[in-house]
Amino acid sequence: MTLRLERVSHAYDGRAVLRGVDLELSEHRIGVIGANGSGKSTLARTLNGLVLPDSGRVLVDGLDTRRHAREIRRRVGFVFSDASAQIVMPTVAEDVAIGLRRSGLSAAERSARVEAVLQRHGLAGHRDHPAHLLSGGQRQMLALASVLVTEPQVLVCDEPTTLLDLRNTAVIEETLGALPQQVVLLTHNLDSLAGFDRVLVMDEGRVVFDGAPAEAVAHYTSLMRPEARGSRPGDGAAGAEGGAGTPPPAPGGGLRR
């Protein structure tokens, strides 16, 4: 599937977070890296219409996110970094099933599809478990399963391993790597990009590098050197990005979200 961004710009409270981004994404595995506040999350959110750009347009298989949001969301699944925010229903199986309520499938078909997804992602033993009592790794797996049950063609993952330990990070990355879907992965874990077809480096709302993983990582690392960010205090500072919305970076430097 082709995701096309045409001169996409977006600002929060007058502060630009995307500046005239032009992209065409059709590769199977696409990585997006960049400092906190570089515009990655906003870029990701434009891909399934969660954020509508102030100017320019985003086309998913030729459909404009402004006019075909519902159809696009069926094709483009989204996984957030904070899985807790994505859980809607009290138990595991119910949370996976709720995404299918409008699918037009019969109850038996829905149930079979839920069961298959729970089995595939190691959650079958937790089907009646309260979702909020799962461990962090299981919760992220549930968030992933809840999106995959609708069988989207593209999966956009906004730092899905940020809140996870090494073991769970490996499990989630392995799962993502084995998916047949096209995946757009936003991450700070540079090791996870090996084997990707294409990696974008974002900085101050622009795509400043677009190419193979090794070169992209080298470019990003060079951006993060003190001499490179001397004129931009706060770039690359510690802090957790992600969670729900994509609030604007702190004006005038300081920690960026």
């Binding site: 699944g77 809607v88 995404g99 409008r102 609708t150």
Partner: protein, 202 residues
Amino acid sequence: MSTAGLYVPPRSRRAVLHRLPAGAKLLGLVLAVGAVVAAANAAVALAAAASAALLHPLCGVGVRPALRTLRALAPFLAAIALFQWLAGDWPSAARVCGQLVAAALLAGLVTASTRVSEMLDLFERLARPLARFGANPRRVALVLALTVRCIPLVASAWRTSREAYVARGLRGRPHVMVVPVIVGLLRSADALGEALTARGID
């Protein structure tokens, strides 16, 4: 974290209630509570409360949900019993408290034996007539589901704020946690809304 009000998977073959449709259980609940209230008799109310408690293990739900309900009700029951006893007589106090306990335990039994998704389907069907007046039955049902989902969310926001408060060496004055809890809940609501939109459940 509290799991009060959530579904309890069947624990034995006796889990008859789990197999009953949600509509039948709700109707049974309304009729049973209506009958206990209409009887207006202390002995009937206390017998109903005892039966409702006994039904928990008998129906494969276990005694924990019943104990949780009773623990949550205890301070209110004490206040109501005291007021009724002072304002009236002890049979009135026993009747009102018995009715309350019976109603709460029976309602808990229905909740513990019914998945939220079954309730969602039921409420969606019940809310269908409201479509004539412009209401969307799916959204009405979703609001009810989200209400249940928000119980652990609120508990979690309160615990997080309390931990941050205590970690900073502060004690007492729990009211100062109200603002951070509300801010946390608003952020969670924002995130939940975005997730619903992303999953196409809006």
